[in-house]
Symmetry: C2
Subunit: 145 residues, 2 copies
């Protein structure tokens, strides 16, 4: 293992710099995968949120941490592109629920699969033990928030 590490000669970053750079790397990768399928990051997040929910506009605004007016615009554009449908709620005629279309569901599945493959490629230099340790430590940090 020491031999493997010395082959690569990576700089040893501080915890802050390492996490910041890793974050930009992963975020940029996801942005690129989304762009390849002609969706922005916020549209991708939208599709992800709608995978297992059919929220009202208000709930969606809360989930995405957007103003309700921003959500209206986002859903307008997504609807125009055939990614979602608005459905008038039966129990409260003021509310609209938002539903993923089947083509959008296929799209999010493809993007996810390609992103997974890319992250696995990025961590391919690590041993299985190291990958598990990285996953464990990252999970630990996430769980603390």
């Amino acid at each position: 293992m020491a031999a493997e590490a010395s082959l690569q000669q990576e700089a040893e970053l501080t915890i802050v710099d390492a996490l910041a750079q890793l974050s930009f790397l992963i975020h940029g990768t996801l942005t690129q995968h989304a762009a390849k399928h002609e969706v922005s990051m916020i549209q991708l997040r939208l599709l992800g949120v709608l995978r297992d929910r059919e929220p009202t506009m208000q709930e969606l605004a809360r989930l995405l941490r957007l103003d309700k007016s921003s959500t209206t615009g986002l859903i307008d554009r997504a609807e125009t592109r055939g990614l979602v449908r608005r459905i008038r709620s039966e129990r409260d005629r003021r509310s609209m629920t938002v539903r993923l279309t089947s083509s959008a569901r296929r799209k999010i599945n493809v993007v996810e699969r390609e992103f997974r493959a890319d992250v696995e490629r990025m961590t391919a230099d690590l041993t299985p033990r190291q990958r598990a340790e990285l996953a464990r430590l990252a999970s630990r940090v996430i769980a603390g928030q």
Copy 2:
């Protein structure tokens, strides 16, 4: 250590999910710190790039991976806010170099300091050994790209 882990009861994520979620966490934190000081992520990146450089518009466009016209707009807005100055190059009268103002330098230093403190707080649950290991594994992934 096993006792500590069981106290927290965090979900054990896959490497892909853990890195994706960690990425969003760090990215969101940085966005919030920037917003608190009234700069967007791209403006923050701009200030970071200009900390130790005085590039031409063209070099800046390449560094930020923006079109030259997008860079013009970005620098227009930054200049209006007193974050940067354009300086006509002496050796090529077509070129402009972009320089950070002292107030912007103070701003980027403050944002960096607050972000560092926040990431350190986020990793405070880890032992020193675990933090070092996380930094080492993250560095390893970054270096591989």
